[in-house]
Symmetry: D2
Subunit: 332 residues, 4 copies
């Protein structure tokens, strides 16, 4: 069984998913849509597919599934349009920056009995998957605490920051989802602090570049997240989960793993400096999971509710920074 795909949005992340679709044995890339003709043409030529409009794709009988890679403010509308068009939907995170809009959108998907998978790519990183597998196998006993480190090599441009929803909804949201993914439980309270330390341009935009979060679950389990928009040594992405019997951690990844020893000491090269090389396997696995669900009838994972939950945690963090208090998370 082969799934026929269209990509909506031919920017950077659209190219990533086009490559993943093209490389999947059970998928064929049939069409791409983008208001910028050059961007759409580049994908069309590279992978031998058509350029169509979004509405054409919604009406195409040769398309089974769409990958939504547009700007965030179009996500919810497109999800609703394609749920109604009876296409399987893979949507990049977030569904929307507004919780109410996300809820409405998910109701439409449910009413249409739609298939929606949300793009939390890190769940498909082989190393993080192995961490979760070790937990599920009981290798560390009952989980007690997760410690998640996420540091970007550098801050995005101001234009991006302005529309991002802020560090908690844009960057920490991956870590909020990772916390739920690893611990298998939704936090009950969130406390957060944030600072502007790496880029003075960020403060005037009302955003932050450095953040720390502690969260507690009803069971007493705890999660710690630390974030920065700066990491000179590369893309710093670690998780560490402690349980009653021990600890499991995923190490950072580097493109080449050599070591050079001189009178100055032992030196290993920097980490990956870009999320697309760091998570190249994760993106391929993610599309493979989407395709598998469609071919074998298994449910989407992560779901729209996962997307909503991560956003609820982000909103709680924003409120905690504002009030200085522990914030109880709304139920998703």
């Amino acid at each position: 069984m082969t799934i026929n795909f269209a990509i909506l949005g031919a920017g950077r992340i659209g190219q990533v998913h086009a490559r993943a679709v093209a490389g999947n044995e059970n998928a064929v890339l049939r069409a791409v849509a983008d208001p910028m003709p050059d961007a759409a043409d580049a994908i069309a030529e590279r992978y031998g597919c058509d350029v169509r409009t979004i509405d054409q794709i919604a009406g195409s009988s040769d398309i089974d599934a769409v990958v939504i890679c547009t700007p965030t403010d179009m996500h919810a509308d497109l999800i609703e349009q394609f749920a109604r068009a009876k296409k399987a939907i893979f949507c990049e995170k977030p569904i929307d920056l507004d919780v109410a809009r996300v809820s409405d959108c998910l109701e439409v998907v449910a009413a249409e009995d739609g298939f929606l998978m949300v793009g939390f790519n890190r769940r498909f990183d082989p190393h993080f998957m192995a961490v979760r597998k070790a937990i599920e196998e009981g290798q560390i006993g009952t989980p007690e605490m997760a410690i998640i480190t996420s540091r970007d090599p550098g801050a995005p441009p101001a234009e991006y920051i302005q529309r991002s929803g802020g560090i908690f909804r844009d960057m920490t949201i991956h870590d909020f989802d990772m916390a739920v993914f690893l611990m298998g439980e939704m936090p009950e309270t969130v406390q957060a602090i944030s600072s502007v330390l790496t880029d003075p341009a960020i403060g005037p935009l009302g955003d932050f570049d450095t953040a720390s979060v502690i969260m507690k679950m009803a069971s007493g389990k705890q999660v710690t997240i630390t974030n920065s928009r700066r990491a000179s040594y590369g893309y710093d992405q670690r998780v560490e989960v402690h349980g009653s019997l021990g600890m499991v951690a995923a190490e950072n990844q580097r493109p080449v793993s050599i070591e050079i020893a001189t009178a100055n000491g032992y030196m290993r090269p920097p980490l990956h400096d870009f999320f697309m090389t760091r998570y190249i396997d994760a993106y391929a696995n993610e599309i493979a999971s989407f395709v598998s669900s469609l071919t074998d009838g298994s449910p989407a994972n992560p779901t729209g509710v996962d997307g909503l939950n991560a956003l609820l945690l982000a909103d709680a963090a924003v409120e905690s920074v504002r009030t200085g208090a522990s914030v109880r998370v709304k139920v998703g």
Copy 2:
């Protein structure tokens, strides 16, 4: 110049310091005091010193310095007694569990122009010292965030817990001091969460065994601390400091560093399972620093104020757990 020492308290930590004093080229252990004759005799025999009472030691003209290793509730009284007796004082942390009592005690020391060093042994660990040195040398630029992990192999007995002042004043206090030591700045706000996850006997005592803390400084710098009274794989003691140019971290320590590879994977032995072997070099360096200060006239470091500051941070954490709010730290 040789410093003549007496040890007050011949228990476990008294033995550690007796060994460090005996091994120091510029120190001589002259006397030991303990209400338990067997304990005092053991040290006296091992190192060839006298057994005396505390009052005898205070009145001994052949004693230059004392190391206070008694139960915590005697610390402040002994500091005052020996400040008045014009002996140099090394006191195990904490000075007292009550901030007001600590302040009063430090006033007495100041009034007597006394010499008081407080026993935060981790400042003298070669690896943590090297972390601070790297920061001071500017290798990571301006520090922005410290992440401190401290997990004990197992919980102490209930009797100890009851008199400990709770996890924040007993265990996290080392990490609070480490935060100030590494970042060179006192946090302004503290937020903490705590749980009972590892030992059900701890809850009924009003204490916790698992804690996470986030702190923010006036400069916007951040500190994260995670603690547990359980770590199956040994004594987990890590620090990691991020700055504008990079990161410096101290690795965990194990008694033997071999690796065994089989069909199950690559295995390295557990970490040290006891603070006395983990910090054996730190204890020797700590006494060496005390002796150096006395012989070359440099000030005590860490001071009584360092002890007070760590306690203020612990009190703020306790209050944050109680109120669920961010707590502003009192000025020490």
Copy 3:
């Protein structure tokens, strides 16, 4: 510019190269040949190419280049046939197990002004490439000693062993080539020892499963190689080069890099257990290098002479085992 390929031989290594060709932007897989119709059909279907006979391919005007993946005893004949047919040739190592046959074959290639690249895939591993780059950049000064470790997860079947030319010509040959690749100089003398330790079936075949080699160059530089046909923990492939200023080493590779710590210690998963996953990037880079040479006119690298040199070192090792003496390498 696009290079049109045919694959000769649709077995395991043929599939590896078919995948690499299909994934290369400047290459198109046009045809595959194999006496087993099922094997050829599988590749043809997977990548959308034709099944043709070897002679058809030699006569096809739409084929620019061939990848020879047949059994070893056909290599030299096919190289000669396709050199005469004016196709660019990529041939899996070895060209032949007999030095004289290799020399004759290379003469034919030269006479036809042919393009021949030999498949020493490890030269294209990103980690080994980074080691060589560090050496070329002078990071370790003048190279003095290379230490090469190569251990297979398990021995191949007896049928393979019988036609392999023995451990030195089949397995160590990669390490002989790596020695020349890294040190930039051909060894002058070879001494080797070999044993049957892992698989008693190997001895009766006149072969060995465990070997150590030391080699010395005219400059006094030294190389050490250790080999085994058994490594329970996976595919052990390390190089380490020492120079006047320091050392550079490539670490082993594992599919997932997590660490699990329990009361038993710290455990990391085994290494890759198969050369095709271990060297997946190397195979892609290797074909990319072949394609690049053809499109930009740069010379083949490694060349037929590299293939011959590695075989000369292997023959010297065989003779050293037989005589117990240091063997001077013939000039290639």
Copy 4:
């Protein structure tokens, strides 16, 4: 039971052993002898013992044991003198540079029923001990191959080199002993190569600074040793043993284990740069083993025969370099 010691020779290694004796609970340092009064006085003052002549020590009834730390050419004579004086003897390696002289000396010890332990300190390094323990416990199955790396930070002075017996008898001898210690079997054949690469002053002295050795045992087990008199990054001391079930390796040791990550990559500090800090625990364990043997009546380990065996391997390596052939080791 307390063992009363004298140290013969108050140079660098004498000071190391004086410190180890003084720090041992069951040992007392009573006397030191050295033709240089200043050297002897320094030890006498530091540890509160007498300065005596060698003959006085041989005749002292208050001395149970001697530690021979003199120049090598006095070792055998002193062993014989103190065996006849009925003192327990710890002698630094080597007993002598001449096999016949060693054999004669061991006969005298045997005739006097003397107690002689030879100072192969590396056997007492905690990490190498743990490697051997893992082998003895069967964790790697039947051992098949040992790979020993030994690189000094820098070459000793020419004066030392001249009297050292050459690199194989002075430096590799530790690795020869380690091979027997780890594999539990004496090699049968030795092949070696050597070069002058690091220090042009060494060649005119008839010695080498770089060496590689391969050895084979009757059982087919193999050992590889690589040596250099230069290692910019510190004292490089590794062993790795492969067996039927896996591999065990001892990692290098550094004084501080921190890691600094910047845009240049991840940097760890150099290794120990001096054998006395690298092996400080080994020297203490070594004297403790000597004392234990004397107090509990267990045999000396390593013995004089171990010293002889290592010398026989060194002589075989020298001959292999001379002849270019595999050399069969004489039976010790």
